[in-house]
């Protein structure tokens, strides 16, 4: 088997510095926004007592899901023994860590009391999925760092496979935990469903792979390293399978709900007359995020074009973000039903469709932590050998 050579990117071009400074500006704006929201209170955001989780949570959960999904490429190489993916495994682990760092910093900076992070790290209620998630997330960092170390240190290479197995198991548990944040909410008709956990796992496979492909294609293009058609073809096909799988779970979720009379209200809201949420669901999530990328990935006219494959991955990212927006915000916009069969009114927005307009601060926070993820990943590939020198086609791979 061919030896894989990894090399840091040079990172000395003016373009690289401009890029990093731009990211730093976004990070700074995000931090400033978080400080503003904390010192003035959340009334300066679009979040209310009705929509308690807003766009920061959409950013956070997107990054957390992508983090565990980004690790898949490494899992495929070490758990399922696919040699073609082996050169990509380091980058896969790296993105898993940096995306999780971005996601968690969004969550923490949106807390009402981010200064009490130490309380969250030292005082636990083990009936809470959130408390489990604190262990799952911090554990994920440790597990992936060890996994990366085993991959990058020749003396430890022998242990890559068990570490990969363990990391794979951990990431499945982690995403089960993320999905269950919603799945266990008995009171809310949009969420209380066991299908949330497996659906979130598939969503993480999809979003993580899309982010991974975009980062890989961008860095290889910018550093002028060869990226063979075979690698891209495999990743693209995998992307197609994951898009179809997420669509399947979305369909099962909605069909189940439609069948339950009690939940027809929320289903009609999301699917038929929920205004912006209905539009986001059909146009954003289904058309732009699923159908168009599926066509780009599989149709013979498009499937060989590198830019169109990158476009498919980018649409998946946009569609995934919209999907989480519909789940998180749309699910809260529909009022809690305390009295079935009654027309309800009160001073506290009972029985009304709740409105939400994200403030510039929340968006800046989300963009800032996204920039943090990219910044960390870019620094890492500059100082450590994460990227292979070449991913040019190896004739042996295509017959594998």
């Amino acid at each position: 088997m061919k030896t894989i050579h990894y090399r840091e990117i040079s990172g000395r071009s003016p373009a690289f510095y401009v890029f990093m400074v731009t990211l730093l500006i976004f990070i700074g704006a995000g931090l400033a926004s978080a400080h503003y929201m904390e010192s003035h209170g959340h009334h300066v955001t679009g979040m209310t007592n009705q929509i308690v989780w807003g766009i920061p949570h959409v950013f956070a959960i997107f990054m957390i899901l992508s983090a565990s999904g980004a690790l898949n490429v490494a899992s495929i190489s070490s758990v399922f023994d696919r040699g073609l993916y082996k050169p990509l495994a380091r980058l896969s682990g790296l993105l898993a860590i940096t995306l999780l760092a971005g996601g968690l910093s969004t969550l923490v900076l949106d807390l009402g009391r981010p200064d009490r992070l130490i309380v969250a790290m030292t005082t636990y209620n083990f009936r809470s999925i959130f408390a489990w998630n604190i262990f799952l997330y911090t554990g994920f960092f440790a597990v992936v760092v060890i996994y990366l170390w085993f991959m990058m240190e020749p003396r430890m290479n022998a242990y890559v496979k068990p570490a990969g197995f363990f990391a794979f198991f951990w990431r499945l548990t982690l995403t089960t935990g993320t999905g269950s944040i919603f799945g266990f909410l008995v009171a809310r008709e949009a969420y209380n469903s066991a299908v949330m956990a497996p659906m979130f796992i598939l969503m993480s496979f999809l979003f993580g792979l899309a982010v991974f492909m975009l980062f890989l294609m961008a860095t290889f293009w910018l550093t002028q390293r060869p990226l063979g058609d075979e690698v891209v073809r495999r990743l693209k096909n995998l992307l197609g399978v994951f898009i179809a799988s997420v669509l399947y779970f979305v369909m099962v979720y909605h069909l189940t709900n439609i069948y339950i009379a009690q939940r027809r209200g929320i289903e009609e809201f999301i699917l038929l007359h929920g205004g912006v949420y209905t539009a986001l669901f059909w146009i954003g999530q289904i058309l732009i995020g699923s159908i168009v990328p599926l066509v780009l990935v599989y149709h013979p006219w498009f499937r060989r074009s590198r830019p169109l494959i990158a476009l498919a991955a980018a649409l998946v990212v946009i569609g995934g973000f919209i999907q989480l927006y519909v789940i998180i915000i749309g699910g809260q916009a529909y009022p809690l039903v305390l009295f079935p069969g009654k027309i309800v009114s009160s001073s506290f927005y009972d029985g009304v469709i709740n409105t939400y307009t994200p403030s510039v601060f929340e968006i800046a926070l989300g963009l800032g932590t996204t920039a943090l993820s990219i910044f960390l990943a870019s620094i890492a590939i500059k100082v450590l050998p994460f990227l292979p020198e070449t991913l040019a086609d190896n004739p042996a791979d295509s017959v594998q």
Binding site: H42, H43, M47, R113, K342, I343, D350
Partner: protein, 244 residues
């Protein structure tokens, strides 16, 4: 006397550890001296019984009294202003029958907010009152997502002129405390008092576990129900004449 480097480091470490741990021991002492269990007994379960037949649509005596007793002031931002109790008007979709009732924290025995709280800030006192520990709440709002009754509010701005007995804080979640500070002084909750004095005498407060209490006798003699009884949360607040 001269000490070597090793001894010095050892002594410094011991001094540091003592400094770091001492406040902890002090806290343990404080906690033992003033155990919350002393005030709240599991032999009691405080609850409310609300007779919707006596609650009229136009009356909001309970809401006004709650706001006054707990220092809740409006910032003219109804979407983020705290509301611990609210009057809800119901009209039967198929019948047209109109009812009015107050809704607040239902002080569930199996409270979803207590289950989901990562730090244990949402907790249930031994006597059944569900509260938020303002020192442990990190403001994640998961309890607000979990509460079936929309009973909690998030403090979204600075608070001034607080009432000493009812500490509140920006960035924390809060909700009806059943006027725990009044109960601990053998007084009834402000909403119940106001309803009895100026409202329709629709609210009754008492110990659900004491078979001799008025509330327990009333519950034993007439039908009553919980809101979202399907969730089986065993609420401490129950309603009579509620057409659900």
């Amino acid at each position: 006397m001269s000490i070597n480097r090793r001894q010095f480091l050892g002594a410094a470490a011991a001094a540091f550890a003592a400094t770091a741990l001492a406040p902890g021991f002090h806290l343990v002492e404080l906690a033992l001296a003033d155990s919350p269990e002393q005030g709240a007994s599991a032999l009691k379960r405080w609850g409310l019984l609300i007779d919707t037949a006596k609650c009229s649509t136009g009356c909001d005596a309970c809401v006004t009294a709650c706001n006054k007793a707990n220092g809740l002031v409006s910032h003219n931002r109804p979407e983020t202003d705290s509301q611990w109790i609210r009057k809800v008007t119901l009209r039967g979709e198929h019948t047209g029958y109109v009812q009015s009732l107050p809704v607040m924290c239902q002080h569930c025995a199996d409270a979803p907010c207590v289950d989901v709280c990562p730090t244990g800030a949402s907790f249930k006192r031994a006597d059944g009152i569900v509260l938020v520990d303002r020192h442990l709440c990190i403001g994640c709002r998961y309890c607000m997502m979990a509460c079936p009754y929309k009973a909690r509010s998030f403090v979204a701005e600075n608070i001034t002129g607080q009432i000493a007995e009812v500490p509140r804080g920006k960035g924390c979640v809060e909700g009806c405390t059943l006027c725990v500070e009044r109960i601990d002084r053998n007084k009834i909750p402000a909403c119940v008092e106001a309803c009895n004095e100026t409202g329709g005498k629709a609210m009754m407060f008492g110990d659900l576990k004491d078979p001799e209490s008025t509330i327990a006798k009333q519950l034993a003699s007439r039908p009553s129900t919980e809101i979202r009884a399907d969730l089986d949360l065993d609420t401490g607040v129950r309603y009579q004449h509620l057409d659900v």
